[in-house]
Symmetry: C2
Subunit: 219 residues, 2 copies
């Protein structure tokens, strides 16, 4: 796995540092369901995603989850190296939704180089800003969107990601993504069925009227 493609200014980084980064990168394969960060004590390092899909989420003390964002091929996960910054105290969890190759650069190595390399530090900045943006989007969703809109949007996004209108997902999994209770999802899906937007089966939701769902999602 070639890591140079992840860094847009690869050629502006010092040659010795490129070497260091390359050899520090720990390439491995993750399988679906693998846990990359278990919440506490999270400082695996910078994760460069080759072919996997990762879900980054937070977890409450009571075990409720909310998905912050998902990362796919070509993305870089920075929060898994959040200990390189002072004053960051929140915990995140990362799990592989789809298996594939990833490369991990240990936090210390990355930080050392970043400290003296402007291109790398600015790259870090850019990634951080993008994640910040995702999280702000989430806040706005949670605060100002009604649940039907959030569910509709989730289903559409999911269909896009999976490239299929038939989603193999349980109500409980949806609830985890959206940070609500299963019963609430069941109730709303039931309503969607009544309106003809989706069809349900055990462990699956099929979108039957995407146009209507888009309307509900408010876009």
């Amino acid at each position: 796995m070639d890591i140079s493609g992840f860094f847009p200014f690869w050629d502006k980084i010092d040659a010795r540092d490129r070497e260091t980064l390359g050899s520090a990168a720990n390439v491995r394969h993750v399988a679906e369901g693998d846990v990359l960060e278990p919440g506490r004590d999270n400082c695996t390092g910078l994760i460069l995603i080759g072919g996997a899909r990762l879900r980054v989420f937070i977890l409450s003390e009571e075990g409720r989850e909310v998905t912050l964002f998902r990362l796919g091929p070509g993305d870089v996960c920075l929060l898994s190296a959040s200990c390189m910054f002072q004053g960051v105290s929140f915990d995140i969890n990362i799990i592989a939704e789809k298996g594939g190759e990833i490369a991990i650069i240990p936090t210390r190595v990355y930080k050392t180089i970043s400290d003296r390399s402007a291109p790398l530090a600015n790259f870090t900045n850019q990634i951080m800003a993008e994640r910040f943006d995702s999280v702000m989007w989430l806040i706005e969703q949670i605060l100002w969107k009604s649940f039907d809109a959030r569910l509709a949007e989730f289903l559409l996004d999911e269909a896009e990601l999976e490239n299929s209108d038939s989603l193999g997902i349980t109500h409980e999994q949806i609830a985890y993504h959206l940070g609500t209770a299963r019963e609430v999802v069941t109730r709303m899906l039931k309503y969607f069925v009544g309106e003809g937007y989706v069809a349900l089966a055990r462990g699956s939701v099929t979108l039957t009227d995407k146009e209507a769902l888009r309307k509900i999602a408010g876009k």
Copy 2:
């Protein structure tokens, strides 16, 4: 107003760049209630806070607000220069809660130097991470704290900030901070009065049992 104190690695920045930053800094005084960023079109620049207190919040289309965080003396506001990053699309609003001196460094100047200066870029990173942390804290509050806990915590924080147990604040202002409706605040405050936690008067809330409030706030 001396801006060097804001940058922990001031002496590691190139002398010419220090000069440029210093002369680009636009020092001015803001009065209470002044709007520094009106949502859309936000790229005032990096704001260095001398003596003012700023409130950074987001606004829904319906006019509902939520406070993201507040900044005081010695703090740096980065989101007011968020256009220096690609892909950042959320809008923020900034208003002065307390008058005082601030210095503004235009985004372009800051970005130019940051692009070639590792210390500055890493400083930017650090600030961004801290703001990210604040926002994550907010998400956790919104998602898994009940409203009584959030209100109690807000009142305690406010008393700390104002250095007084008697707060000159209306129910509506509290609602804006917490992103809810005035009636909800009124209702809960009424309950707090019944329990003897606070005393109310027009335009003011007085904390009468901080210990109990801390307990409710969950800390």
